[in-house]
């Protein structure tokens, strides 16, 4: 007759015995015979529908009968069945600890509550969730507006900037009356108006290696809405070190990218881009421009991914890079793989702390005594003295149309290598662009070509308009 070996917790129901003989030709028959002999075992082995409970394993020899023929698995006279408990448990999940909703909130979120995938438990998860938006700018605007409206309970915002006229074309968190105010102040006001149930936590600081871990630690999901490489790598690295998902997007002119970097389940940003591009190669939105609507598109994708992560529904953008082309209105997708050699999230990771991201991205601190840099004040003095030199403007023609410093020679950066013959290496050369990065690349190129007297105007025409000549429009 087949024998059934009982685990310690079930022995009291079989008179303290560790094994019981039970007749039958299959696993199902033998278990039925066991519970016929010892009826109190029924409740612990089978659920109300008569199915074996999920945490009860039955082994025939070394094999789980689920992977044999289940209850129909045949048994021989001398076979022994082992009942093996699956010992499991754990701390309460967000579902169990999520806060309750008030009547006001139930009315407010009714269109969520009636979606089965969200429902009351999902809305409570949103209320219990803490999301950090890095930046209250182009991406941070739609992102925080929708997350607040959706009922994310705690919304942290990192920003230290002041609202500027040039922000209003896309940063819909802020209005014309907010120009000159801190972005954090106007953001908080707007978000509270949209949803007073949301706790807005302002972090008025520049995210740095010194404070990032401390700030990010309190949040469940981080959404990066910044547009510079040092912060992007900083946010990525801090998220990997803390084990948090990083909902990423970036935008330029008519194109955008989005992904969810979550090292526990997929690649991180460094798996995609091991190292940043050389400074100035990839222009920022301030240098290259951006269609005002584009951060709306991408920020809303970030908000969608954030909400999905909190609710635990759908297919997150983990391991996928979404490419958005607004001009062709096309969405393409690239598969991303975890880099096995990733210094941060790979199996042989070597980086365990945050580093100096300005240095990593090749951005040194401004050097006032630099022989290759020049301030707009120095340029003004040079012009006033009537020094002999050439002022070279490397911006695009459509930018020159908007604003220009009189007397400048204009050669766009990308055409510079073919037009070096228009310049004289013996002359002093001051190079400018809009804000400095493109002219810095031009100076590097010129110096390598023998124009050792080339210098870069730091801050570009923007600094010139701001500090020297207010009649030049800032764009």
């Amino acid at each position: 007759m087949p024998k059934i070996a009982l685990p310690t917790p079930l022995r009291p129901y079989a008179g303290g015995r560790d094994a019981v003989d039970a007749a039958g030709a299959t696993v199902g028959e033998v278990l039925a015979e066991l519970t016929a002999q010892h009826p109190t075992l029924q409740r612990h082995l089978f659920d109300e529908a008569g199915r074996l409970r999920s945490f009860v394993n039955v082994y025939k020899g070394d094999e789980d009968v689920r992977f044999l023929q289940g209850p129909a698995t045949p048994l021989q006279e001398h076979d022994t069945l082992f009942i093996v408990p699956s010992i499991a448990g754990g701390a309460p999940t967000t579902e169990e600890t999520a806060p309750a909703l008030s009547h006001d909130e139930i009315r407010r979120y009714s269109r969520h509550l009636i979606i089965p995938e969200v429902g009351l438990s999902g809305q409570r998860k949103l209320k219990g969730a803490k999301v950090l938006c890095v930046g209250a700018g182009g991406l941070g605007s739609p992102l925080s507006l929708y997350l607040a409206a959706a009922g994310v309970g705690t919304l942290g915002i990192v920003d230290f900037d002041v609202v500027d006229d040039s922000n209003l074309q896309r940063q819909i968190l802020h209005g014309t009356r907010d120009v000159g105010r801190k972005k954090l102040v106007s953001a908080e006001e707007r978000l509270r108006d949209i949803n007073p149930h949301v706790r807005v936590v302002p972090h008025e600081t520049r995210l740095s290696s010194a404070n990032a871990l401390e700030i990010l630690r309190d949040y469940d999901v981080i959404a990066d809405g910044t547009d510079n490489f040092p912060t992007r790598y900083l946010v990525n690295d801090a998220c990997v070190l803390l084990g948090k998902p990083n909902v990423y997007a970036s935008i330029y002119r008519f194109e955008g990218q989005a992904s969810v970097f979550f090292a526990e389940k997929g690649p991180c940003y460094r798996c995609l881009y091991r190292e940043p591009p050389p400074p100035g190669l990839v222009p920022s939105c301030a240098e290259g421009g951006v269609l005002g609507i584009l951060p709306g598109l991408l920020g809303v994708i970030q908000a969608t991914e954030t909400v999905k992560l909190i609710l635990g529904i759908g297919e997150p953008l983990i391991g996928r890079l979404l490419l958005v082309d607004a001009l062709g209105l096309q969405f393409r997708e690239l598969k991303l793989r975890k880099d096995p050699d990733c210094v941060l999230c790979g199996p042989h990771a070597t980086q365990r702390t945050l580093i100096d991201y300005d240095q990593f991205c090749g951005i040194g601190p401004a050097d006032p005594g630099s022989t290759t840099d020049m301030t707009v004040e120095e340029l003004k003095a040079k012009l006033d003295r009537g020094d002999a030199f050439v002022l070279l403007d490397v911006r695009e023609p459509h930018e020159v149309e908007i604003a220009a410093i009189p007397g400048a020679v204009h050669i766009p950066l990308r055409q510079l290598p073919e037009h070096l013959d228009r310049l004289d290496p013996a002359e002093d050369l001051v190079v400018h662009c809009k804000m400095g990065p493109r002219s810095a690349r031009a100076v590097k190129l010129l110096r390598e070509a023998g124009f050792t007297r080339a210098r870069n105007l730091t801050g570009g025409i923007d600094a010139w308009a701001e500090r020297i000549d207010p009649s030049v429009p800032r764009y």
């Binding site: 754990g90 701390a91 389940k265």
Partner: protein, 143 residues
Amino acid sequence: MIALDEARAAVIREHGRRTYPEECCGALLGRFVDGIATVEAARAIANVREDGRRRRFLVDPRDYLEVEREADRQGLTVLGFYHSHPDHPAAPSDFDRRHAWPNLHYVIVAVEAGVPREMTSWLLSEDRSIMREESILLARRTA
């Protein structure tokens, strides 16, 4: 009631500290002394959950069988299991209750920001509806 001396309690706390922020788990082997479940060994077991180890633990059935065999060899019995709750109180979750077995003692240690704190012990009610807290005899000497 479960008797757990300071040395074994320290083993459990240290295990919870080591695996933080993930959950640790292990078996409690011992015997009944004057009718009191008395722990003589706390055996660490690998948490084989492939995901969510910060909130969940799972013992591989083969590890469970090995623990029973070890208990048999040493003339001990499997009294129960312990696990940690990283950054959560030492109270059983609904998930703990639904997966609990009768007649086993469930010891939970709260680990707050990497530091082991409160330790509690629980038993499943016979009708499976709740986990009842029991006292831990910490000072009792166990051979």
